[in-house]
């Protein structure tokens, strides 16, 4: 009997984890390249949820009835506009601070996060927003009273997440752009000497992170059907936890950390206590940072003098 409940929680956890992984990619890439926590990344994801709902409403207004077509168009528009947000945040809040004090980019990032939250709240109102349930139906495993179900939506989420991750991994590891990214990550000054425009590469990394956040934003809205201007904060910290868990700077680490965090959080809220699931996630973050700061797949940080 228990195995079905565990199965159900694991399915929910994998879905959640795939989403955490997508957001974690943004943290891990930015941290890898300029060594700062992009505190506003969670809010970029929040903005993408709003953009998604707005574009879907506009598309419905223009009379596109096909769910698949509507979703794809929404996704494309959301990706483009969220990428613009990611680019602008880097341009306004981080680029002028290069070479400044150590705390400056982080404080500026917190400021940016407050700006994005309140800008959305003031423009769109403080109330919860809805996202129509476009994909319905599920597959049941088991029979009679004992079963667990996997909705089609959950399958779409996991597949989309893995496909996006696959594309990103391909871009980073096989293309010349990805090579430039990795070079900048390893040694920005040397990369610059070799003719790589590092400022441009850093912008591109923010854009790539924002694209992944946009995919996550649409998937979350589809899954839960509602969102508000505050979702970026908690989800952002959890995604960062996932990035740290998997090893910051490592792409497969981000998705692995996301899956582990999603599943353990799901199991915790299923079997122990729902109220304390956030406490559990934060506690996990602290424990990981104390005992294994380099994460599961990360390289240990060497202090240089």
């Amino acid at each position: 009997m228990d195995s079905f409940i565990i199965g159900q929680q694991l399915v929910n956890g994998i879905t959640l984890g795939a989403i955490y992984g997508l957001i974690a990619v943004g943290y891990t890439m930015v941290y890898g390249i300029i060594g700062m926590i992009n505190f506003a990344h969670g809010d970029i994801y929040m903005v993408s949820a709003y953009l998604g709902a707005i574009f879907l409403a506009v598309i419905t207004f223009f009379g596109i009835d096909s769910v698949v077509l509507a979703l794809i168009i929404t996704l494309l528009f959301t990706i483009v506009f969220t990428a613009l947000y990611g680019w602008s945040v880097e341009r306004i809040a981080y680029r002028p601070l290069r070479g400044s004090t150590r705390l400056a980019p982080l404080i500026s990032a917190i400021g940016m996060s407050l700006i994005l939250q309140n800008y959305v709240q003031l423009s769109q109102g403080a109330r919860n927003q809805g996202f129509p349930a476009l994909v319905e139906g599920s597959v049941r495993v088991g029979d009679g009273a004992q079963f667990f179900q996997v909705t089609y939506l959950q399958m779409i989420i996991v597949v989309t997440a893995f496909v996006s991750m696959g594309i990103l991994t391909y871009v980073i590891h096989k293309t010349s752009l990805g090579r430039a990214c990795r070079a900048t990550q390893q040694d920005p000054m040397m990369a610059e000497v070799l003719g790589i425009n590092t400022d441009r590469i850093i912008s591109i990394v923010f854009v790539l992170g924002a694209i992944m956040a946009a995919v996550a934003g649409i998937l979350v809205s589809l899954n839960y059907g509602s969102f508000d201007f505050y979702i970026g904060f908690i989800t952002g910290i959890k995604a960062f936890t996932a990035a740290v868990l998997g090893g910051i700077g490592s792409l497969p680490g981000a998705i692995l950390g996301g899956l582990i965090l999603g599943m353990s959080e799901s199991l915790f809220s299923g079997f122990v206590n729902t109220d304390y699931k956030d406490v559990f996630a934060f506690g996990l973050l602290i424990v990981v940072l104390i005992f294994k700061p380099s994460g599961l797949l990360g390289k240990p940080e060497i202090e240089k003098v």
Binding site: A53, I54, P96, S100, R102, P105, I107, M112, I115, L285
Partner: protein, 504 residues
């Protein structure tokens, strides 16, 4: 040498402004222009257009201003500055100008609260001139004046301004506490509100379960917060920079979530109510004694006034804040303070020189937490009611904004920033209620278009409360670009073994 004056490049400014406004239009377009309602939307396309025009004009003017300022020595202060200034030991602690200006401004602010605007301006000018005449003892005179003014303040202020001042002083205390951790020791703490909560709940719950009085809770709450600081300090010893920030943030959220969810003990979101205000040797400041003592007004045979309570809280708070400022200023010159600053500048070099980073970091965390706990006890006593929603991450960010705006590590800067960030919104709110009346009373004398413009402006001022957080965020980003070391940056010490003139 002849100075080269480059002509202003209008084309460049125009190009930049054009690109910025196009991007602004794309960014603001969907979110500001299309407001979601249900699964549908309402078009409000004028809003992104206005925003884009504002961006265009703003970018254009700033571009011209900066081009101009770069060649104009008197406008150099407008340009972003990143480097720290150096303070040579034995020289003036702070520049004379800023000290005089600061005290004059303080006098004006403080006296304005008594309601006599022109008197306060005159007082400020007199103080400024007085200070420019005084010689070496200027610093002491100024401190004495501020203390006397601060102590006399509550007897003249209205109750509204008294409550605003109490809130401002609580933030000064919080700023001082966080300044120890972030400013002195350079450990970015994003969960400082946790210690504030520990202090507040220490008093609230301590009163409920153990019957603690304010005077018992004050040291106990501070001690408890210091213990929490040390508890947090231990695991984060090995971390630095961003990792530390995120762990402290997690810690702050854990404290809030526990307070919110442990309903049997903390009453969850309902919070703790009926927390008594402080008493003076058992004399209460309420009309009818609730704690079984004699009320203050009966003891002295004077008529009851509800503002007695606030005056008393203000006075205790003022004394504690003054003490804390004295302590913090001295700590900075003591070995422990120097160790904090050394650790902030270079941890590895510091450890190589034999400084025990464990004690240094832990002392910074627990000292800061202790001050935060004190502020929490005052908050609980002043509000009489606390619940977890007062201790969100936004509060931490606000305290951090105070410390950053003031200048990391600068005590005077932190005090000024705390006052600005708490009094400014209240002043604007006050003006928003008073201005329309004043404008209406003048409607007979003013031309109608001027009258309309003024009323629109004062109406806009009324909404400033909802833009508060947005403005904080913008300030934080702009300050980091313009002055990453704050408005009144600390001056780094430098020791010169021999002055250039002494050489034989």
């Amino acid at each position: 040498m002849e100075k080269i004056h480059k002509p202003l490049d209008f084309i460049l400014a125009f190009k930049g402004a054009f690109v910025a406004s196009i991007i602004a239009l794309l960014l603001f377009g969907p979110i500001m222009g299309l407001v979601l309602s249900g699964y549908d939307y309402q078009a409000e396309l004028q809003r992104p257009l206005i925003a884009a025009v504002v961006v265009f004009v703003g970018r254009f003017l700033f571009s011209l201003l900066f081009q101009f300022a770069q060649h104009e020595p008197r406008l150099q202060w407008m340009l972003p500055r990143k480097t720290a200034s150096v303070w040579v030991e034995g020289e003036q602690v702070e520049s004379k100008q800023s000290v005089r200006l600061f005290s004059a401004m303080t006098a004006i602010t403080v006296l304005t609260l008594t309601g006599q605007f022109w008197l306060s301006v005159a007082g400020g000018v007199v103080l400024y001139l007085l200070l420019s005449r005084l010689g070496k003892r200027k610093h002491q005179v100024m401190v004495a004046l501020v203390v006397i003014l601060g102590l006399l303040m509550p007897f003249f202020a209205t109750k509204f301004w008294l409550t605003v001042l109490i809130a401002a002083l609580i933030y000064v205390l919080l700023g001082l506490g966080l300044n120890i951790v972030v400013g002195f020791a350079g450990l970015l703490d994003l969960g400082f509100v946790a210690f504030y909560a520990v202090g507040a709940y220490g008093y609230g719950l301590g009163h409920e379960y153990l019957g603690l009085s304010f005077w018992a809770a004050l040291p106990l709450g501070a001690l408890m917060a210091a213990c929490f600081g040390a508890i947090l300090g231990f695991p984060v010893l090995r971390m630095h920079g961003d990792y530390l920030a995120i762990v402290t943030l997690g810690f702050g959220e854990i404290i809030r979530l526990v307070l919110n969810n442990w309903t049997e003990f903390t009453h969850g979101p309902n919070g703790v109510s009926a927390i008594p205000p402080p008493t003076l040797f058992g004399l209460e400041f309420s009309r009818i004694p609730k704690q079984g003592g004699t009320p203050f007004h009966e003891f002295f045979g004077i008529s009851y006034d509800s503002s007695f309570r606030y005056i008393f809280i203000y006075l205790i708070l003022f004394i504690i804040v003054s003490l804390m400022i004295a302590v913090v200023t001295r700590l900075r010159n003591m070995p422990i303070g120097r160790a904090w600053e050394a650790l902030r500048e270079d941890e590895i070099a510091c450890r190589s020189l034999g400084i025990n980073h464990v004690t240094v970091k832990l002392s910074a965390f627990s000292m800061g937490a202790m001050v935060g706990g004190l502020a929490g006890v005052f908050f609980a006593a002043y509000q009489g009611f606390i619940n977890p929603s007062s201790f969100t991450f936004f509060e931490s960010a606000l305290i951090l904004a105070i410390v950053v705006l003031g200048g990391l590590g600068s005590t005077v800067g932190v005090i000024i920033a705390a006052f600005i960030l708490t009094i400014l919104p209240e002043t604007l709110r006050y003006l928003a209620t008073e201005l329309p009346k004043a404008i209406d009373s003048m409607s007979d004398y003013l031309p109608s278009f001027l009258h309309n413009t003024l009323s629109t402006l004062s109406d806009g001022l009324g909404d400033i409360g909802s833009y508060r957080v947005l403005i904080f965020g913008v300030c934080m980003v702009l300050m980091m670009i313009w002055r990453p070391r704050g408005l009144l940056p600390i001056q780094r010490r430098a020791y010169h073994l021999d002055k250039p003139g002494d050489a034989k």
